[in-house]
């Protein structure tokens, strides 16, 4: 039997959220406006901060201690615009980036494996969870010297610090996401006699993506902290940012020190943002939490 459904479609469309019909124009205009709304206050805050910094460096510190707090201008001239400094920092930045990404990569692979294992076997969850929490609670600064004793001064030894510090959020957020599946969907897969592997691949893992990406973003930021801490302790081999920070401080090269700190922060922000962007891209078409237009 043929029934004309066109009228039904139209009237039901009115119920649908506006976005699919509202069109890209509105979305774009909204994006421009909200971008300005985000950027302008941030720039004002930065200006206030730099202004205060300038004031503190020139008026709040006695003359013979001013070398401790260089003015923003001095940081620019001796740091950012000084070719020797920038040469050193660029080389270090590259080393630190490699270290962070390598450690993070290993943490992601291991973390996902451990998360799946914990989900699949109750005993694995019971066995692993307390140690995950312990690992998270361990002060990395305290065990870093131990790492040098065990692993020497290799790239691997530094990587282990990065892995330890960025590991925890990955299996825990993955586990949470795999567990919080709508019971109706579980029934649906049971009715079809789907295998363990099928349920994992088509139901549990995709369901865990939003939560996992929230964890990955945190881990990404932590990986840079881990890399810098590792480098501060492993004063051998080619110098990463952590080592530069130590060296500049020791030599009392404060403008250079500030520059190194700024670049460490920028690296953290960049890796954090990259994972935020990646996550948003992966789930934005379907997940409520994803930012679509602002």
């Amino acid at each position: 039997m043929k029934v004309d459904l066109r009228s039904a479609e139209h009237s039901e469309l009115a119920e649908a959220p506006e976005r699919p019909l509202g069109g890209p124009v509105r979305a774009r205009r909204g994006r421009v406006r909200s971008a300005a709304g985000i950027v302008v206050p941030a720039i004002i805050a930065l200006a206030v901060f730099v202004g205060f910094w300038q004031f503190a460096a020139t008026h709040m510190i006695s003359r013979h201690r001013r070398f401790l707090l260089p003015t923003p201008g001095k940081v620019l001239s001796d740091g950012l615009f000084d070719s020797r400094t920038m040469h050193q920092i660029a080389a270090s930045l590259w080393l630190t980036t490699k270290l962070s990404l390598f450690g993070l990569g290993v943490a992601i692979v291991l973390g996902i494996a451990v998360g799946i294992l914990m989900f699949s076997f109750k005993w694995a969850e019971r066995a692993a969870y307390p140690y995950l929490v312990a690992l998270q609670a361990v002060p990395v600064l305290a065990i870093a010297p131990l790492m040098t004793v065990i692993f020497g001064y290799s790239f691997w030894a530094k990587s282990i610090i990065v892995i330890i510090i960025s590991f925890f959020p990955i299996p825990t957020t993955l586990l949470l996401g795999m567990k919080s599946v709508d019971p109706g969907l579980i029934d649906l897969f049971r009715l079809s006699h789907a295998s363990w592997w099928t349920r994992l691949r088509k139901l549990r893992l995709p369901n865990a993506l939003p939560s996992l990406f929230a964890g990955l973003r945190i881990s990404a930021g932590l990986s840079v902290i881990g890399a810098i801490v590792g480098e501060l302790f492993f004063q051998q081999g080619r110098p990463g940012l952590g080592q530069r920070i130590y060296d500049y401080q020791t030599n009392m090269e404060y403008p250079q020190l500030y520059t190194a700190i700024i670049f460490s922060s920028l690296l953290g922000i960049a890796i954090f943002s990259f994972f935020g962007w990646l996550g948003n891209r992966a789930i934005r078409s379907w997940h409520e939490s994803a930012v679509e237009s602002n």
């Binding site: 649908a16 959220p17 109706g184 997940h287």
Partner: protein
């Protein structure tokens, strides 16, 4: 089934052996609650049976037993559990899949090759009028459209038995009426056996060839009321005094067990 004056088309053909049969089915939960006691009934293809009863009377449990999701403590259920449509209260769509992807899911889980499952999924989507929304994710659909997508998913299996667990309960009146019409159209087209749980007496009478009334704690079937109207059913039937009369009969049966 009784003849009706309002209908010129004969009722959907009721055929063959029961597609679903309950024989003295009882269900006691581990905590001792008796959910169902000695429930027996059968539904044939082309028959639309609604089940009404006070909330907590075990209607949903009954459907879960029919589908094999829950096992009865005693009694027998006869059906082809592998070819069963089960529309839940919620649309339960995979949010990361489009309408098309969701419609393909069950065939995928049954190992149907890609080409064929795409074709059958498209047919089912078309049957529920969602052609234009194939590539939409559920979050962009209205409640009514999500329910259609959920229905389309099961239609791909062309099941001889369809179980419905208050599928339109969460929808507004207008969407609900529209989906009622479409469900009836699909029912006539496919001729499946339908078991429809609802708490709306009018919906039960309007859709069904037969209404079963259940009592609560323990859930038993206390009345089996035939609805004397054929298919297709005219919209106007909703407001026909004859329909109110049958609804009144169901209501009376319900009140007697409250």
């Amino acid at each position: 089934m009784a003849e009706v004056e309002t209908s010129v088309v004969p009722p959907a053909s009721v055929s063959g052996a029961p597609a679903l049969a309950f024989e003295q089915v009882s269900m006691t939960f581990p905590d001792g609650t008796v959910a169902l006691r000695d429930v027996s009934f059968s539904v044939r293809r082309g028959e639309f049976t609604s089940i009404v009863g006070p909330s907590g009377c075990g209607k949903s449990t009954l459907l879960r037993i029919a589908s094999g999701l829950t096992e009865a403590t005693s009694g027998r259920v006869h059906t082809d559990a592998d070819r069963l449509g089960f529309v839940f209260q919620d649309p339960t769509l995979l949010p990361w899949r489009t309408v098309l992807g969701n419609a393909e899911l069950l065939l995928e889980l049954h190992g149907v090759p890609r080409e064929e499952r795409r074709r059958r999924a498209r047919e089912a989507i078309s049957a529920v009028g969602l052609d234009a929304f194939e590539l939409f994710h559920p979050k962009r659909l209205s409640g009514g459209m999500r329910m259609r997508a959920s229905l389309a998913r099961w239609l791909t299996l062309d099941p001889p038995v369809f179980l419905f667990d208050e599928p339109f309960g969460a929808l507004d009146e207008i969407s609900r009426e529209k989906l009622n019409e479409e469900l009836l159209r699909l029912f006539q087209e496919k001729g499946f056996a339908a078991v429809f749980v609802t708490h709306s007496l009018f919906e039960a009478v309007y859709l069904s060839s037969r209404v079963l009334v259940m009592s609560s704690r323990p859930g038993r079937i206390v009345a089996d009321i035939a609805v004397p109207f054929g298919y297709p059913r005219a919209q106007e039937l909703r407001f026909d005094p004859a329909m109110s009369e049958v609804a009144g009969e169901v209501s009376a049966a319900l009140r007697s067990v409250w």
